[in-house]
């Protein structure tokens, strides 16, 4: 009895914090999402129903955000994973300077997304005083200057994708490098003695051996990319709707606060839609990986 009490006592702070700031909100968000016409100031609502979902799904801003997020996911997840694999394999096959490269590659992980995003913006932005460094480089190839920050949709999306990849790479390279390092060296020796070509060793031994890690990265990559937000803010400012660059998470926050603010019901509906999408994609990923991960 005394022991029981003691155990709960040690857990009390965690349970309090989690209860108030995670469990309760988790239930509440579903309630909000079905309360129609909720008024933030008076905390009253008219009725209960699925109107909030219908509103969100018909909101052009949400559809824009949905489209942006999907494009971002489809482009950045495969590209960053592939690039990270390429770099990690390169990193694993060298000895000299390896630590230095590893340290450099990890740097973006510890930097403030908002701050470095500002640098990216400056590199790509066209101002009355300068076309920016990116355009200068394009000029060498005879390409006319483009405003990547305030210009055409595809240009803005391109910068967003580049920055997103830059931000997620450190994590992927780190995880893949340690996965590659954990493959027993004798498998490679055995394959070499048998005259296996480098590319065949990679396809037939390395890839299957690291496939669990690879799928883990793809799954977390999908989840992370669906929640993209601060990268976009860093590049295009807080008014993402005006820049046509909003993401689903951005839409949720805008609904809470900001220009269109004060609608927790719509925000909740959007958050639940996001959660369902992420859950579906993760389940599909798990099903695919079960078929393809070898052991």
């Amino acid at each position: 009895m005394k022991n029981n009490l003691k155990g709960w006592l040690y857990l009390l702070p965690a349970i309090l914090f989690l209860g108030v700031f995670m469990v309760y909100p988790l239930i509440d968000v579903f309630i909000y999402s079905f309360e129609e016409g909720y008024n933030f100031a008076s905390q009253t609502y008219f009725g209960v129903g699925e109107y909030n979902f219908s509103y969100v799904l018909h909101d052009p801003y949400f559809l824009q955000a949905l489209k942006n997020t999907f494009i971002l996911v489809v482009i950045t997840v495969p590209l960053s994973t592939g690039l990270a694999l390429l770099i990690s394999v390169g990193l694993s096959s060298i000895k000299k300077l390896r630590e230095l490269y590893q340290t450099v590659y990890f740097l973006p992980y510890v930097t403030n997304t908002l701050a470095v995003g500002l640098v990216f913006m400056i590199l790509f932005k066209q101002t009355p005083y300068s076309d920016g460094l990116a355009n200068t480089v394009l000029y060498w190839f005879g390409i006319a200057p483009i405003d990547f920050i305030g210009g055409p949709y595809w240009a803005k999306m391109l910068v967003l994708c580049i920055y997103t990849i830059w931000v997620v790479m450190p994590f992927k390279v780190l995880i893949l490098t340690s996965a590659l390092a954990s493959v027993n060296e004798t498998y490679y020796d055995a394959a070499r003695v048998d005259g296996t070509s480098k590319s065949r060793i990679f396809r037939k031994i390395t890839l299957p051996m690291i496939s669990p890690t690879l799928f883990y990265l793809i799954i977390t990559g999908f989840i992370g990319a669906f929640k993209a937000y601060s990268d976009a803010v860093a590049l295009f400012g807080t008014d993402l709707n005006a820049a046509e660059m909003n993401t689903i998470v951005g839409y949720i926050y805008d609904m809470l606060y900001g220009n269109s603010g004060g609608y927790p019901s719509y925000a909740s509906a959007a958050a639940i839609i996001l959660f369902v999408i992420v859950l579906t994609i993760t389940c599909i990923n798990l099903l695919v990986s079960r078929k393809n991960v070898h052991y």
Binding site: N184, A190, R192, V193, G195, T196
Partner: protein, 361 residues
């Protein structure tokens, strides 16, 4: 395939910054291996035997010397072009492939005119699987096999490409004692039936002596002695080899040569033609006899009965070992009474070594 190693040397750069002298793993190693032989590289851990094997497979490059397969100089040839089969100590079976896929793996590497059809590969795999007696297990994954079965798969994978030389790195060390005995006979049988020149590395002298045509004893990267197992056992060229071979181990004593006689303690045990001076004397356990007139008195400790033979455990003030072990015929059991025993010695089982160099006199 005849394999020749000429003045083979492998140095590793020193990791110790205070002592920048390179570590010599293999030192001026010269050896000729006749076609179809099974030879064992034998020595304690760290003697350079595994490095020698890696030099043969091409996984490591020598810093000096040459390696010939037949008349071909393969010293700088990458491993994939050498045509060697290599069995690793931990087998290195690919865990995500079945036994059959593991065995056909080397065959699938062939390109161009050597390329094989699926049917040919399958046939070769089945044939070699039958040779090592795993043809029932072809569809299993390595994790579903016992240690002994994994070992056979590893050998099958090395054999399937019909290597010019077969290399085995501590092939039995991951098996339990009973399986070890069985597997070493198996290796001998497979080697005989294929006739492939085979080199295997081991630290277990019994293993080496029991199946190989020739053993090569190494110490600190230097070849100590080579020859047929019995020859090396009967005629060790230095104290290290004498100590390393044989169970129970050889008995070593401080001795002295005075006036053409070999003394242990203050007894002259036999006549020996060499200059006067202190020596090390090694006597094999079976070199003691109780028949006839004895000349070597030891204090008797106990007698261990082993059936056909008995092991006499004794002590002597000049002994370098903790105890002296003598193996004698069990007929002598009744004569062993009291606290003293007087042995006779078989001269061909007594070896005398230079005290400083350890060389045989």
């Amino acid at each position: 395939m005849k394999v020749t190693l000429k003045n083979l040397t492998k140095e590793f750069p020193s990791r110790n910054k205070k002592q920048p002298k390179p570590v010599v793993a293999v030192n001026d190693f010269t050896l000729e291996i006749e076609n179809g032989m099974l030879i064992a590289l034998l020595g304690p851990s760290g003697c350079g035997k595994s490095t020698t094997l890696n030099l043969l497979s091409g996984l490591q490059k020598p810093t000096g010397g040459e390696i010939y397969f037949g008349d071909d100089d393969v010293t700088n040839l990458p491993p994939e072009n050498r045509g060697v089969g290599l069995v690793f100590q931990n087998y290195a079976l690919y865990p995500h492939l079945t036994v059959k896929q593991n065995i056909t793996f080397p065959l699938e590497n062939r390109r161009g005119k050597d390329k094989l059809t699926k049917a040919e590969m399958s046939e070769m795999a089945t044939e070699v699987a039958r040779l090592v007696q795993i043809d029932e297990l072809l569809d299993r994954k390595p994790s579903e096999l016992s240690g002994g079965q994994q070992q056979r798969v590893a050998i099958a994978r090395a054999l399937v490409k019909q290597p010019r030389v077969l290399l085995l790195d501590e092939p039995l060390s991951n098996l339990d004692a009973r399986l070890r005995l069985q597997t070493r006979e198996e290796i001998r049988r497979i080697q005989r039936s294929t006739g492939i020149t085979t080199v295997f590395v081991t630290h277990d002298q019994e293993e080496a002596m029991s199946i190989s045509d020739m053993i090569v004893v190494m110490k600190e990267g230097v070849l100590q002695q080579k020859g047929r197992p019995q020859e090396v056992y009967d005629d060790p060229c230095n104290l290290f080899v004498a100590k390393f071979l044989g169970t129970p181990p050889v008995n070593v004593f401080d001795g002295e040569i005075k006036g053409g006689k070999l003394y242990i303690g203050n007894e002259a045990v036999m006549s020996f033609d060499a200059p006067d001076g202190a020596v090390d004397v090694a006597i094999r356990p079976e070199g003691f006899t109780l028949e006839g007139e004895g000349c070597f008195t030891c204090s008797l400790d106990r007698v261990e009965v082993m059936g056909r033979d008995i092991s006499v455990v004794a002590d002597h003030s000049a002994s370098q070992n903790e105890v002296i072990r003598a193996i004698v015929d069990s007929d002598n059991l009744d004569t062993l009474k009291g606290d003293k025993v007087v042995f006779g010695l078989k001269p061909n089982k007594v070896y005398v070594f230079n005290k400083t160099t350890g060389e045989r006199i």
